[in-house]
Amino acid sequence: MKGPSLLVQVTSLARRSTLRTLRQPAVMVSAILFPMMFFAINAYGLDAATSIPGFPADSYLDFAFAFPLVQAALFGAITAGADLARDIESGFFDRLSLTPMRPASLLLGMLAGVVALGLIQGVIFLAVGVLFGVDVKSGFPGMIVLVLLTVLVALGFGGIGAMLALRTGSVEAVESAFPLFFVSIFMSSINLPRDLIEQDWFRYIATANPISYLVEGLRSLVITGWDAQALLLGFGCAFAIIALSVTGASALLRTRVAR
């Protein structure tokens, strides 16, 4: 019996993935409010940092705007990874493999759900940010690129969440990775530009951390305008993370289906 096309399968599972997230108010509150809260605290708590000689922005609110976008992508990845792990734990994944549906559609559907959540978060954060006075120097086209890069970051992190879920098959294991993701955001140039980080060891870690380049790409659209180098590095890192994580997740998916 011939099953529905891959596109139909992916669309169905993406819809399921998105609705499942939207129907969990606690998840949505965490995904929207928590990053905004940290952003608000950082923006006003570190406003004095703008008086450090060489600081690249007049307002820390503008400088810090990349923070909620990256943090939201992290939340989305953990949520999506945990949902996929729940599907494995509950036996949904096994039942699915008995149907004509291709296992790849589960992964793609989950990633499409991540993209949808990332898009919702990006648009909401941008609207709230602009409302509270964030000045996006690259204008309206820059805002579109900002949301696009946010979605790509979410997709890359989502792929890592999928890898964790497929490797462990455990919701607890996926959720316990949250602190590691969180640490990696803070050990980047999220709070200060790399050239203003005084401690050498911290600057080395921030330079080696790909999240610094994602943050700097997003930030450049807000505080600089159109910075080709920052955008190339940002998009380059986002695509590299997507390629690595989705390839890894596909390999793990094949292993799990073969079991």
């Binding site: 950082n42 406003d47 004095a48």
Partner: protein
């Protein structure tokens, strides 16, 4: 019921909790976020100490250490709340309430155990801070800092115990953790109060934790400030949350936990 019952119950509960801690290395989990924030903020934000108006003599690493220490002991209290919620969920608390000759001793027992946990997580944060070259210039004033850390730990434990006994489910976790996180972050975390701006400055001025944090930083730098107000606030918080915990215990008793 005499005081003997009160203290024997307290020590029995404390003994069990402390044994549970040492049987599971996860008891140091409350130290994770404070350690991580300390490394991230003290390592990545040192230049903020050069901002005009930043007048903390002991330096930026010490400035962040005090916040990380108070966060560690407060989170130690919150995690004790999670343990109590777990005891209610797995039925242990019900048996404990039936067996205890003086039930208020249960609260003291959990508080003593939380102090042990808070001391260990506090030592861990201090050890890391010293490793990173933090100066200790407070001399005997450091006892003032330790006293404030004890009050913060006890207040957070009693708050967490109250919530856990009222809700009696591990889903109470966010209800315990979120207010503690908010109180800790809505304070002068990155810069002194005079350098904060906007709504955060207004809230930080109203936040009682700000006075405790300022006094604790003063003790570490060897220039104590706002000592009496800080201790008064600490003692008042302990008293209020002790009443809160006793009220929640009564509710748990009535509910037949």
């Amino acid at each position: 019921m005499g005081r003997g019952g009160f203290f024997s119950v307290a020590f029995a509960v404390a003994g069990r909790q402390v044994y549970k801690y040492f049987a599971n290395p996860a008891f140091l989990a409350p130290a994770f976020f404070p350690l991580f924030f300390f490394v991230a903020f003290a390592g990545g934000l040192t230049r903020v100490g050069d901002v005009p108006g930043f007048d903390y003599e002991a330096g930026y690493v010490a400035f962040q250490y005090v916040w990380a220490l108070l966060q560690a002991v407060a989170m130690g209290g919150a995690f004790t709340g999670f343990s109590i919620a777990g005891d209610f969920e797995n039925g242990f608390a019900r048996r404990l309430l039936l067996a205890a000759s003086n039930r208020q001793g249960i609260i003291l027992g959990y508080t003593i155990a939380s102090l042990v946990r808070g001391a260990l997580t506090g030592i861990l944060v201090t050890f890391l801070a010293l490793l990173t070259g933090m100066p200790m210039s407070g001399g005997f004033d450091l006892f003032g800092l330790i006293g404030l850390a004890v009050l913060v730990n006890v207040a957070a434990t009693l708050f967490g115990a109250g919530v856990a006994m009222l809700l009696r489910t591990q889903q109470a976790g966010p209800v315990i953790r979120t207010p503690i996180f908010l109180v800790l972050f809505l304070a002068p975390v990155f810069v002194p109060l005079n350098l904060l701006s906007g709504w955060l400055e207004t809230i930080a001025r109203l936040n009682p934790f700000t006075t405790i944090l300022d006094a604790a930083r003063g003790f570490l730098a060897g220039t104590p400030t706002s000592v009496l107000p800080a201790y008064a606030i600490g003692v008042a918080l302990v008293a209020i949350f002790a009443l809160w915990a006793v009220y929640a215990l009564r509710r748990a008793e009535k509910a037949g936990a």
